[in-house]
Symmetry: C2
DNA sequence: CTGTTAGCGCGTTCAC
DNA sequence: GTGAACGCGCTAACAG
């Protein structure tokens, strides 16, 4: 297009920012060559590469990602939906995911569901509009609409932080239920007589619900004849303060419990610190277990007996799987169990 | 274009997903009308709105964001660059930012700098390619290249978590230096004789550096004749474990210190728990102060004396300012000081 | 290895 | 209130 044509043409708005065509003009090549230098420099002559790179520097060109996305039908983004960002263990998984994906040129877009299936559905619908190349989800329980949308999108999906035999696509996780069964087995071995499950189980938090099931199954198996005891709130946030509140509730409802098994380390830590304040001896008078092996678990006095889960690795492995899928490599397996590990410390 | 033409035309790949034209066909209107119903339903007849909405439901249409971005030159995204995502207080700021921006239809894209100015520069350059409508940054110290890129981008920018008289564009924060000066004044009032600053100051962490300056200024003012004492690591992560390590270093270098002022609550918490383990009485034998008022501060025994900063509000206010700017409203002020508050508890 | 051509799906402009 | 035409900036396809 000549300058004359351009003047004739109805000009709309323009970004008035440097475009690939501008770079091409400066470098004395076609726009296509600029594009190729950016994406596969090996298929261009060294002179072209050098001239284009110099032109990019001198013009301060920044590639327009939306245009690239539209033309190539690849957005180079991966959406990750987690329950919560702030004060959340899922941020570690995100970090693992993001670190590996960034290496491969993918940007992670984060959505959060606030532990609600409805919000998750809204978030998935909304973020699907950004046409991500892949999806990462925390949890394996989703509404039918979510499953439907993601199947129809026909992109790789990895679920995590739980276990199921029928993932939407692929799964990198561990069994929350098996983890709590092992915790109950440990309690039995250590001779505790009346273990109580204490936790906050928010409506959309299936991981916590599976831990509760695991406790019940574990008691059935390892404590025959013992009636399981649970102290479960449905709306408490996962904070140390909630742990203090739940401790009080547990002591009121089951004053003779000798072990409290919390659904999260944060709750357990809050309870342990509250015990210290109130002069309740841990573990002598009351033992405490947590879940997650947060950093605080090893620093408390006594150290918190808990279950370590591969928070960062889940993100990293999920990213590796997604990258392989995006290269059209077929996956070896649909599911990857990263397991968990009981960490015995002083509190139980 | 007729079906015949379409057959003649070289067809590239297509997303084979539903487009606005498909919806228009089903609804019996033009694509323009579909677009209008989506963006400004009030300017369309109720019948059109209803028919289009029904067509969207039946086709399960999801708008292509990249195409919308390219055509309108608005990406409806805001980039936020924070030092770190996992185990980070900045996640709270992010939550505040994101909550308010989502309401207005903006998606937040997160980048992290790992406390490095070089990484920040790379991240800013990369994310600028997504043509965000606005930018949010933690910190006020950036490389010249970052400032240049953001000025040239000609979009609203909010910096936060610190203070400066010459922000790139706008600023929502507080003075880390003033905060530590106030902490030193408090120490003086409470009669401590040898307060020591203890912290990890990573290369790109200007906030921590400003706290250190604040300590030095506070000592000069409130402890005339006293030689300031600092125990500063440059590479320790901001964790409780580091707090334990720093406590040991502080006790070795300045065994007669009666107050340790940590640059972060996480470090202080780790130190306080380590004191408990080693039988050091807090605050009698050694007092401890933190920074940030993390949740753990109020749960520890004794409670941690610290400085509370408006983590969530900084994000919310930043979002409100950005939204106003994106509506082309002129800002009342360039800077917004949200202050801080000293919270006195048992540890000092 | 490089250039030409066409079109990705949408929003803006303008005419009705 | 609605539709037709056009182009946003880039890349796939093809030809040389």
């Amino acid at each position: 297009m000549t300058d004359f044509d351009r003047r004739q043409t109805r000009r709309r708005f323009g970004t008035n920012s440097v475009t690939m065509a501008d770079v091409a003009r400066v470098a004395g090549v076609s726009a296509q060559t600029v594009s190729r230098v950016l994406r596969e420099p090996d298929s261009c002559s060294p002179q072209s590469v050098e001239r284009v790179r110099e032109a990019i520097r001198s013009t301060q060109y920044v590639q327009n990602h939306a245009a690239s996305h539209l033309a190539s039908n690849r957005s180079m983004t991966v959406v990750a939906v987690i329950p919560q960002i702030a004060a959340s263990i899922f941020a570690e998984t995100l970090q693992g995911l993001s670190n590996v994906l960034l290496e491969a040129g993918y940007q992670v877009i984060i959505g959060h569901s606030d532990y609600s299936h409805e919000r998750e559905e809204a978030v998935v619908r909304n973020l699907l509009g950004r046409r991500p190349d892949a999806f990462f989800l925390v949890g394996t329980q989703h509404t039918e609409a979510v499953r439907g949308m993601l199947m129809r999108a026909a992109i790789p999906v990895v679920e995590s932080w739980a276990w199921t035999d029928s993932p939407i696509d692929q799964l990198v996780g561990f069994s929350n239920e098996a983890a709590l069964q092992e915790a109950v087995a440990y309690a039995r071995r250590r001779g505790y007589a009346r273990p109580t499950f204490v936790g906050s189980v928010r409506p959309g938090d299936d991981r916590a619900r599976e831990r509760l099931s695991g406790y019940l199954a574990g008691v059935a198996r390892h404590y025959p004849g013992f009636v399981p005891r649970t102290v479960v709130a449905e709306d408490l946030p996962y904070t140390m303060t909630s742990g203090r509140v739940l401790l009080a509730a547990a002591r009121q409802h089951h004053p003779d419990s000798d072990l409290l098994m919390f659904s999260s380390d944060l709750l357990a830590a809050g309870a342990l610190l509250a015990c210290e304040r109130e002069g309740i001896a841990v573990p002598k008078q009351l033992a405490i277990m947590g879940f997650g092996d947060y950093e605080v678990a090893s620093e408390l006095n006594p150290g918190l007996t808990t279950i370590a889960v591969p928070t960062v690795r889940m993100g990293e492995e999920a990213a590796r799987i997604l990258i392989r899928r995006l290269r059209n490599e077929t996956p070896a397996t649909r599911t990857l169990d990263l397991g968990f590990e009981l960490v015995a410390r002083g509190s139980a």
